[in-house]
Symmetry: D2
Subunit: 390 residues, 4 copies
């Protein structure tokens, strides 16, 4: 047996997403058959102490504080971008120029303009590229996609209804963090969680045609975080309030090109909804329902079932026949949140080895960005706005 | 003990709503303490054979085919209007002139103009009036109202999310019926089921400020019904197709005057959703969730619960302490759809006897109509539209 | 059209069951096509004031305080026994001798001996007889029966698992009532609610072969009720404690004659379970699950479904095609607890008119009693005990 | 910072449990703060090719085919036994003699006698020992334990109701495997899955006092597996049938020493139940419900909640305040099956380092075995049998 090629990965970012991605890089070879060895070679973060600690925790020997060192490292094959949104564009373009394959956290960019430049860069460099909308690879979502593609909902979709709801900033004393600052995040709930909704809509139903939207920032000023206060030597006692200049919630109606109606929402102000994505799709032959808080399940209603026994089926998506599951555990033994990243990386690695495309690509990320931008415009104009074609 | 006064009721209409209302009139005295005797005196319908059969089935001795005879009958105290929407206005105004108390099925009217004339008539005649939005008196909904009024969701509502979904016309061969004809129904899903959503939003959250909407008619031509074909002596063999000129689905975003965001929908094209109203309300201290298909339950999340045990409570709304329940069965013994009409009529009768107001009044019906009209306008203009103040 | 025969009913008992039965007698003709007119002629109870009030509430003109007057009334065709368990036997035997058709509340009797005498009496008199196990006629249960009979669970049942759980006496200060006194009730949870479990097991799976059981009385002394104290002129201040001499809970394992294993339970000590009957049946081709607290639903798992989409179907049992539903409301409009009595009475009346048998008969009640008695014996012997054959 | 001590682990067994344990050993350091480095040094299995493949897959450099080499390896600190049940006793005793800390898969042994010898050996050798009942460390189960210990269910438990249900051998053509052979497994559903039920009962409620049981083998002959047939050079064409001499299902009633009633079941014949453990515990102040198929949730009913809003709370056990969760992801991001092993190993390693006891110990395993043996006896005698005290 010939030795497998080794792919070296450079991971930029070490917080929540850095933790999730490093786990996936470590785990994927133990569960999926890949035609390459993977080596999580280096991790990068700006704060030396913190990135060093992360390197130890995540099991890497090497860490750096300047991302340029990662992308220029000739041994690095793959750059995995897990930084806040304001650096995605610059890092990705630079990495593309260095010929690295790129996995980039969502949202791809802060604007259509940034996203376009990123797409241009990866196309020019002909590097494999992927935006990490990990929820496409929840087995239940992948099964939903198969069901739709097999025509089991019929030849016509009437409704796509989706909502991403969290509650982590309901408390007005929850401090300012980068996700609540426009400069770094680009937007609030819109880019952070609504982008997943758009991605799932495009994946499962098709391209958006038009959107109408309302947005709201429910809490407009928040205290500085204790850490930030300490860093500024202000002491925790004097925590000045700062302006929240991103959206807390966004509500959208729209139409897909295929005629389906969309009813969409994202909010960080739904007490009790921790990380809930609910989806319902209604077609002329049936319906699908999914809730991320019951991630290992998919509900399917089929008008083809015998009439007296029609009802939503509660499919436990843990059978070997289901997407990605064969690699894990026996039926009924559920998988968790982080497995979606392992699935994403398994498919990404296959594409890197085979030098093929993999979805969702940077182009997908750009198109999602166009939808987000049309939504922002609609909020300003209070009109239904067209989504520019791909 | 003095003999109770007897109230005589004239019921106009004998189909689905006639069946539901007649049941409630029969049942209410056996379960609720009312200070009047009720006599369902006469039933009215245009088709003699059918109304005669209904009279027998519903237990009435008297039936007529001309509604004028009902409203001019001096013995009649209450006129209960269960006819298709196109006759609500005319009958109600005439009944008001005769000094009758009026219960009218929803939607109150086909237009704001009709609704205004009806309000004017009942005000002038000073008769007790009510529009039959029966879902306000689902015990779980009434409990939700109490919870909100006690401030248990906090002093601020962020989101009202509601959807009324059915699937009875998904099949394109389902025939034309009056509910699918603009002339008689005024609108489709909008007036028939979305009006309940508007009513519940106004009841639970407050007045609407602005709305943006999309509408769709998914199946634009349908066969004439077998009955209609037979009546026209065409024979079932030749069932011509007729145009559907009402909406099959409507999707709405909006804002309440109190700042809450609305995400609303009604559709008759959701396979597997039989008569589903789902509501979610998020406030700064908690959330409520309700699903009409689990009508005897209400889910409540409270941020005041001890942190490790926070979670949506699944309240089975069948305790004597819950609204309306003391009159029925012991805890855990659920009630059904028709009980909501019994509750509505119990409250209506109390108002008639006491000559007080009862909600939802014709004025409520008018304000709901204003919201529906703003929605229709928004569909035309593709803009967010203001809802005129009460 | 010839005039229908009128059946006169005498109702003995006016409390919870009297309320439920009187409602069903009133309602049934309005929803079901029966070939007889029904007249709820007289109601009987020992306490004059209370029965008079009940008569008014339930809409009867006539009431008596001596049940002999009911059964000897030549105009009475049907005697409906809703009294505490200690009088079922005497009343039923006397009514049979008078040639009355008899509907008797469950449990049929306090002992096998009583039940045998009752069966003998109705057989000798050749009167139509039925024991009111109303849950057989929950539409979802009736659908479960159809599914099993159509062989959709396969040709072999492995497991029947059922539990009836309530929580109304968890509080040790809840007073003594007749249901907690052996003399009047015969047993506690066993006869009152476990008898339903036995009846449903016999209905859905078959005859029991053997049982092993444990019983417990968790609270052995309870205060006299305020009413009882008042009646004894003791004053509420001195409420003496009385011994509870019936079971609070019973747990059973067993086998059916067809080889299925039973795991059964009834308890009044399950906080949060208000009136919960959960059933699960596993066969070689599929499974059924039912929960009375979601009475309008039935869950079905079929091994014949396409493998990737197998899952428990959540059937909303409100379609016209479902048992009993055609008489009520459109799909998705749920029915309540009391409707099960209406269904029971509809079938009973048909049998009375046609002079046919109707299930569950007194013989069914007797066989259920044999199972209960084997359980009591097993509690004493601490052995598995055979259930005598029918 | 002083270098951490390194603990070397020898893993014996490489199938399902070998996969689960090796994953946990790899993962634990990345998520939990341990005061030792862990090195999964060697893996052992009898079939050379298979164990070699497993070593590669699981990321170990070393593999052996004779377990004696593992336990006598002086570098090995911890022996992790994941073999079929028939070798647990011999390996564990030998490992104890070599002074190794021991983690052993459940059931600890095939008999009380074996278990006693194992306990004696670890006591004599004073080695840290643990039986891997991983479900104790499902966060929701650990939360249930905290709730009970805080007295939130009251001072008295009435009922413990539990069931472990699977469906993997419903098909009679599913082949013989070691888990269906008494010689290797000791028992069927009893030792494999019912042992978890016993362990959870002992953990959450207390010691068992007496049990009564029924057992069944629904399919008594099964074909040899394709692999086994091939190994025997019989060819797949001639797959002889072999006798199944273990139980397919077991149903139990019983009592705890504290007076609680038990209703327990395990089955591999429940179509649609994939890996379902349902638990319900009823105390005088509240109830708990858990379902392993919704592993990240716990339902709690409290009689102390305000009366009108009482209901089972659906706690999503993913908050930092919940057991084990702080080490994983933010609220609402669920964990999977294998995380329970990671939790188990985290606690085990802490005990090894600190040389303290850890639950469930081999003594716990022995006591569980006593319950299983009393159940077997009860099946034979058809009597309620006492469980010998610890």
């Amino acid at each position: 047996m010939p030795t497998k090629r080794t792919l070296n990965i450079g991971l930029i970012g070490y917080n929540f997403m850095g933790k999730a991605h490093s786990n996936a890089w470590r785990q994927v070879s133990h569960f999926f058959d890949l035609s390459a060895e993977l080596e999580l070679k280096t991790i990068c973060g700006r704060t030396r102490g913190a990135v060093k600690e992360a390197a130890t925790k995540f099991g890497l020997k090497e860490f750096v504080t300047d991302w340029h060192r990662v992308i220029t490292d000739p041994q690095i094959d793959i750059v995995d971008i897990c930084t806040p949104n304001d650096s995605h564009c610059e890092i990705a373009i630079a990495a593309a120029r260095e010929g690295k394959a790129i996995l980039c956290e969502k949202p791809l960019a802060r604007s259509v303009d940034e996203a376009k430049r990123m797409v241009r860069a990866v196309k020019k460099a002909r590097v494999v590229n992927m935006v990490c909308h990990n929820y496409r690879r929840v087995p239940a979502i992948a099964l939903a996609k198969q069901i739709i593609e097999r025509g089991q909902l019929g030849d016509r979709i009437f409704h796509f209804r989706a909502r991403y709801a969290q509650d982590w900033i309901v408390d007005p004393e929850f401090p300012i963090v980068w996700r609540l600052q426009s400069e770094r995040a680009g937007s609030g709930a819109l880019g952070d969680i609504f982008s997943h909704i758009v991605d799932l809509g495009r994946y499962l139903v098709g391209e958006f045609k038009e959107v109408g939207a309302a947005m709201e920032t429910f809490v407009r000023r928040r205290p500085q975080s204790r850490d930030a206060a300490l860093r500024r030597q202000d002491g925790a006692a004097r925590r000045p309030y700062q302006r929240v200049d991103v959206d807390d919630a966004v509500t959208v109606i729209g139409r897909f090109k295929n005629g389906a109606i969309a009813s969409l929402e994202a909010t960080r102000f739904a007490p009790g909804r921790k990380n809930s994505i609910t989806l319902e799709i209604n077609g002329n032959d049936g319906s699908l329902f999914f809730d991320l808080e019951e991630m290992n399940r998919l509900k399917l209603f089929s008008r083809h079932d015998r009439k007296p026994e029609q009802g939503f089926r509660d499919i436990i998506v843990t059978e070997p026949i289901h997407p990605f599951i064969r690699n894990w555990w026996p039926p009924g033994h559920i998988i968790g949140y982080e497995h979606t990243f392992t699935h994403t990386i398994a498919d990404f690695v296959k594409a890197v080895v085979a030098r093929t495309k993999v979805q969702p690509s940077f182009e997908d990320g750009l198109q999602t960005q166009r939808v987000l931008e049309a939504i922002k415009k609609s909020v300003r104009t209070k009109r239904m706005e067209n989504v520019p074609a791909r």
